[in-house]
């Protein structure tokens, strides 16, 4: 192979490597695992903070066409940030929301909702974080869209307008 051809091939290779890394650098950095997507809601049963006589179970997710499941806590600062968006999902778009109160005390959770508003149709209590592990939660806040008992979307971190648009497109 001639020297000139070698130089051209090498330059093209370097350009390709540069373009590849440049594209990777520009992509979104947040890791959104897909391991639970397409799976049924895992089996669980928790205390209902709104109705002490009725537990919240995985069976509840078959009752509605689309359900938004949100893991939150009163001590979680990003949950406070995303809370207005959850209120909007409830009030403006009339979505059915189930909240799972993660490693929190009932009194603090109720205080939080009294102060900021309550978007949830029902709230389950997960004081030990076991339900969160069943759902493969990394850290709160975390939101799932469940259609006919199947998880179709998940978002780790506080909700934003882009995520809301995605959720609405799945409705």
């Amino acid at each position: 192979m001639q020297y000139k051809t070698k130089i051209i091939i090498l330059s093209l290779l370097l350009i390709l490597i540069f373009l590849f890394f440049y594209k990777v650098l520009l992509t979104e950095k947040t890791y959104q695992p897909r391991s639970m997507i397409g799976k049924s809601v895992p089996e669980f049963s928790v205390e209902n903070l709104k109705d002490a006589n009725r537990k919240i179970t995985n069976q509840d997710f078959s009752a509605k066409e689309t359900i938004i499941l949100n893991f939150w806590a009163s001590w979680c600062v990003p949950c406070r940030i995303e809370h207005p968006i959850l209120l909007e999902l409830k009030k403006k778009y009339k979505l059915f929301l189930i909240g799972i109160n993660y490693k929190d005390s009932t009194s603090n959770a109720k205080k939080f909702l009294n102060e900021l508003g309550d978007p949830f149709d029902s709230i389950g209590s997960d004081p030990k974080g076991e339900v969160a592990i069943h759902f493969g939660v990394y850290g709160i806040p975390e939101t799932y869209v469940i259609k006919k008992n199947k998880i179709v979307f998940r978002h780790i971190g506080p909700l934003n307008q882009d995520v809301v648009n995605k959720i609405l497109s799945l409705k």
Binding site: P33, R34, K39, P42, K103, E130, I133, F135, Y138, G139
Partner: protein
């Protein structure tokens, strides 16, 4: 009396041995599970909330009689292959296993070619 004494010693030895074995298995599992919210740490090394929750869950599952493989399968179904430090060999990660071997073989071939060439030249 002496008989009772020996039985008590034997019993306590058995209990210690069983709990030591359980601890060994528990630590082995902890060392093979990634703390997904930490930087390259296993749950054995981490004291994050996530790691502590996972440790409690592993302990509970072991006490319920689940095997090491059952625990890994459960966690892989929740968090993906990423949760275990030694991922299984499957179609989606076949390249990760084959590439190092391929590079090693190419290296060997190149070295043998060069040495053969230099021998011929000399």
């Amino acid at each position: 009396m002496i008989k009772k004494f020996f039985i008590a010693i034997l019993f306590s030895f058995l209990i210690t041995n069983v709990s030591f074995g359980n601890d060994q298995l528990k630590n082995k599992i902890y060392k093979n599970l990634r703390c997904v919210v930490c930087q390259g740490q296993t749950i054995y090394e981490s004291n994050s909330d996530f790691a502590l929750d996972l440790k409690k869950l592993v302990e509970k599952k072991l006490n319920n009689g689940e095997t090491e493989q059952q625990i890994y399968s459960y966690l892989i179904s929740r968090y993906g292959d990423w949760i275990v430090m030694t991922p299984k060999f499957n179609l989606s990660n076949v390249l990760l296993w084959i590439i190092p071997l391929g590079v090693f073989l190419i290296g060997l071939l190149t070295i043998s070619k060069i040495t053969r060439k230099s021998k011929l030249n000399s």
